[in-house]
Assembly symmetry: C2
C-alpha cells in the first residue's frame, strides 16, 4: 500500500478527546484523508510518496473561522472608531451599494482566502450576498467553507426584490450542493431585526428541508431587542426558539446579550454559537458570556467577523484576545484557559458549523486539514506548554505550512 504523505517529527496536538500531546508525532495521509496519527517511529516502514519533516514545528488541525463576510475585506479600515449607526448607515451600507457586484465579491473573497490561508485557517463559515461569487473564489483557493447566501427583508446586492430573498437562497444551495466536497452551502438570515418572523420561519424551513446550516446574527447589541417587531417581552433567543429557529443546524452569531435562561434554551435545542470577540469589542457591542455557554456544553466556535469590524482574519490574534477578554470581564484568570480557547478555534468550531465529522481534529478518517507552526521564533521560546504557546504567544506569521484535504496550500509564508 502506498500512502500520499507522511508528516513526521512534529509536536503533534490532535485536538481529539483528551487532548493528547505526542512528541515526535506524525500524520499519515492518503487521498486527502488521515489514515493514522501517532509517534513517528510507528511509521518507519510505511511507503509514502511525499515526506514532510516537521522538526521544531507544532502539528495541529487547521483553524476554523466560524464567522466571516469574506468580500468585506474590500472595506477593511474604511471607517473605524465610529458609532455603530454612523458606521453602518453613512459608510458601510453606501459603500456596499456602490461597490458590491459579482466581480468585486469574487476578487475580495479570493483576497480574504489568501489572508486566511496564510494565517493558518483551513475552514471558514461565511455569509454574504452574491454568495455564488464567494463560492467561486473559495473553490479556487482550496480552502474549506460553509457559504451562506444572505437573506434580508430589504433590497440587497444581487437581490433587488426582497420577496425573492428566500428563493434566491434556495437556488444558491441547490446550485452548489454537490459542486465540491469542500463547499457546504447554507442559508444566512441577517438578523431578527432585519428579517420578519415570516422570513425567518420560511428560511429556516428551507434550510431544514435542504439539510443545510442556518446562520443568523443574534443578540449582538444591547438595543437589538427594541428593533424586533412582535417580540414583546421575550428575549431574542426566546423569540427565535418560539418560532422554531433553534436546532442542531442553527448557528447563532455573537450571542452577546443573552442570559442564563437563553443559554439553557440554546443548549436544550443543541444550537451552536459563533463568538467574535474582536468585532464585539471594536463595535462596542458587549462581551458574550462564553465561559458560561461552554460550561453548559454549547458548541462555541471562534470567528473574526468581516474585515470592516476587526480588521483582519487572524485567528491566532482572536484566540489570544478571547482567552484574555473573558478573564478580565469575570475578574477570573482561570476561565477560557488555553486548551478551551484552542478548542473553540478547532474541534468545537468544526462542530458549531456542522463539520465536526469532517475536520477540526486530527483523527483517522477525517479530512487532512492541518497546519505546522514554527517553534523557533523568539516569541515561541521557551515552550513549557504548547497550548499556552499557541494561544498566548504564537502569531499568524508563525504558520509555516497549511494543508487542506491533503493538499499543501501554503509553504513558508507563500500561497502556492
Amino acid at each position: 500500500m502506498e500512502y500520499d504523505t507522511l508528516i513526521s517529527n512534529g509536536l503533534l496536538l490532535t485536538m481529539e478527546e483528551g487532548l493528547p500531546v505526542i512528541e515526535a508525532g506524525a500524520v499519515l495521509i492518503k487521498d486527502g484523508i488521515i489514515e493514522a496519527c501517532g509517534r513517528t517511529t510507528e511509521f518507519s516502514r510505511v511507503n509514502v510518496k511525499t515526506r514532510i519533516p516537521a522538526d521544531r514545528k507544532i502539528i495541529l488541525p487547521g483553524l476554523i473561522n466560524c464567522h466571516t463576510h469574506l468580500p468585506m475585506s474590500m472595506f477593511r479600515g474604511l471607517a473605524d472608531d465610529l458609532p455603530l449607526d454612523v458606521w453602518l448607515n453613512d459608510h458601510i451600507f453606501p459603500a456596499e451599494a456602490k461597490h458590491i457586484n459579482p466581480e468585486s465579491v469574487e476578487k475580495w473573497s479570493r483576497h480574504s482566502c489568501m489572508e486566511m490561508l496564510l494565517s493558518g485557517t483551513t475552514t471558514c463559515c461565511d455569509g454574504y450576498f452574491y454568495e455564488a461569487s464567494v463560492a467561486k473564489a473559495v473553490m479556487a483557493s482550496g480552502i474549506r467553507v460553509v457559504t451562506g447566501q444572505g437573506v434580508i427583508d430589504f433590497p440587497a446586492p444581487g437581490v433587488p426584490d426582497p420577496r425573492q430573498n428566500i428563493q434566491t437562497a434556495i437556488d444558491f444551495v441547490e446550485q452548489f450542493k454537490d459542486v465540491s466536497p469542500r463547499l457546504y452551502p447554507s442559508i444566512f438570515c441577517h438578523s431578527p431585526y432585519t428579517c420578519s418572523k415570516e422570513t425567518l420561519v420560511a428560511a429556516k424551513q428551507s434550510a431544514h428541508s435542504l439539510g443545510v446550516l442556518f446562520q443568523i446574527h443574534a443578540a449582538e447589541t444591547k438595543n437589538e431587542k427594541k428593533m424586533v417587531q412582535g417580540i414583546g417581552k421575550m428575549s431574542i433567543v426566546e423569540y427565535l426558539e418560539s418560532i422554531g429557529i433553534l436546532d442542531e443546524k442553527t448557528l447563532l452569531v455573537h450571542s452577546v446579550w443573552i442570559d442564563d435562561q437563553d443559554i439553557d434554551r440554546i443548549k436544550k435545542n443543541n444550537a451552536a454559537v459563533a463568538h467574535c470577540p474582536e468585532s464585539n469589542m471594536k463595535l462596542a457591542s458587549g462581551i458574550a458570556p462564553i465561559p458560561r455557554l461552554i460550561e453548559k456544553g454549547v458548541s462555541v466556535g471562534l470567528g473574526t467577523d468581516g474585515c470592516a469590524s476587526n480588521n483582519d482574519h487572524d485567528l491566532f490574534a482572536e484566540m489570544d484576545t478571547a482567552a484574555k477578554l473573558h478573564k478580565v470581564a469575570l475578574l477570573d484568570p482561570c476561565v477560557m484557559d488555553a486548551r478551551t480557547t484552542l478548542k473553540t478555534a478547532t474541534i468545537q468550531g468544526a462542530k458549531a458549523i456542522g463539520l465536526g465529522h469532517v475536520t477540526g481534529s486530527l483523527e483517522k478518517g477525517k479530512r487532512a486539514d492541518l497546519i505546522l507552526v514554527d517553534r523557533d521564533k523568539p516569541h515561541m521560546i521557551p515552550m513549557y506548554d504548547p497550548y499556552s504557546s499557541l494561544v498566548y504567544s504564537a502569531k499568524a506569521s508563525d504558520v509555516s505550512l497549511v494543508m487542506v484535504d491533503g493538499i499543501v496550500l501554503v509553504r513558508q509564508g507563500i500561497v502556492l
Copy 2:
C-alpha cells in the same frame, strides 16, 4: 555636507503635533540624529552615504514599550490560567528563586531584546533585579532602554538583605549613568504593598537627587489597597501623593483601580501612566480608565509587561487590544481611536518615561529611532487610513526594518 542615510518614498507618519501624513515621505539622518523630514522630492540633491528606499512601506517612529521585565521571557508560558496568588507564590516566585542569576538575566534579556526589535520596538522601560545584567544585554542589542533596578522589602535576587535595596539601586544608577547614550538608569519600587512607606520615600528621594525616573506598580489589583500598611482610608494614588511620590518623573504602572479624584491627582502632579492591557486582562486585574486619563491630559504609554503575564513583547498586538478593550468596556466605539492608540505606543509613551525630547516622533533633532512597516501583506490591503491599518491590521511580522540611533538593527525580519 554629506549625510549618513536617506530613507525615501515611504508613507511617512511623524507622530509629531498635528499628526501629518506625508506621501512619498523621507527622513534624512546624520550621526544618529534626524536632520529633516519631508517629501522625498525635497531631498533630491542631498549627498548621502546610504539610501534606503521605503516604497510600499510606512515610515513611523519606533515603538515604545513602557513596561517590561525583560528577563522574565525565561518564564513565558510557565504557568498560565491560574489564580494570581497561585501563579505568583507557587510558580513565579519559586522559579525566580531557582533560576534568576546574573547569567540567566543577561541571556533572557538579550532574547527579549531580539523579540522586541523584530516586532518594531526601539525603546523599552524595564524594571527587575540584577538590572546590571539587563543593562549589559540591552547595550549589546542596540535598543534604547530605561533600566530600573528593583527595590522590594524582601530578600530579592542579587539583594539578599533588603536593608541594602535602596543603596543597591543608587549604586546601579551611578554605575550606569553615563555608560551609553541609549541607556537611562532608573529606580523601580515594586509596589506600595511590597515596599514600606519609608522605603518608598527614600527610594523616590534618591531617584530625585539622581535625576532619574522612578517607576512603581500601582493600583494593579482590586485587593491591593488591603495589603498596604498605614494607608487607612486613602486610595493607593492618594497615599502615594501624600508621601511625595508623585511628580513628573514618576511612572505609575497599571493604574487600574483608580477613580476620577486619583486621575486628577496624577494629572496635578504631572505623573505618567504605563498601560498594560493584555497583562491586566490575562491576570484578570481589571480595566484601567485609560480614555479618561488621556482626556485629562495625563501622559499614557503602552506596555506589554513581562512575558509571564502576556506572553510576548508584541506592541502591535497590544495596540490592537488596547483600542478594542476600552471600546467594549465603555460600550463606546469612538474611544481609543487609532490615532490616540498609536500615540500611546510612540510619542506619549516616550513622554511617559521621560524621553519625549529624545524619541517617540520623527522630528529634526531627535534620535533616528524608526521602523518601516510593509503595506503589501494581504491583511494590510486595502489601506484607507494608515493609522487604522497600523492599529487594527498590522502585525509584528510586517516590520521590515528597524533603526535605533540611525543604525539599522533589523532588516527583512533578521536581527543584524
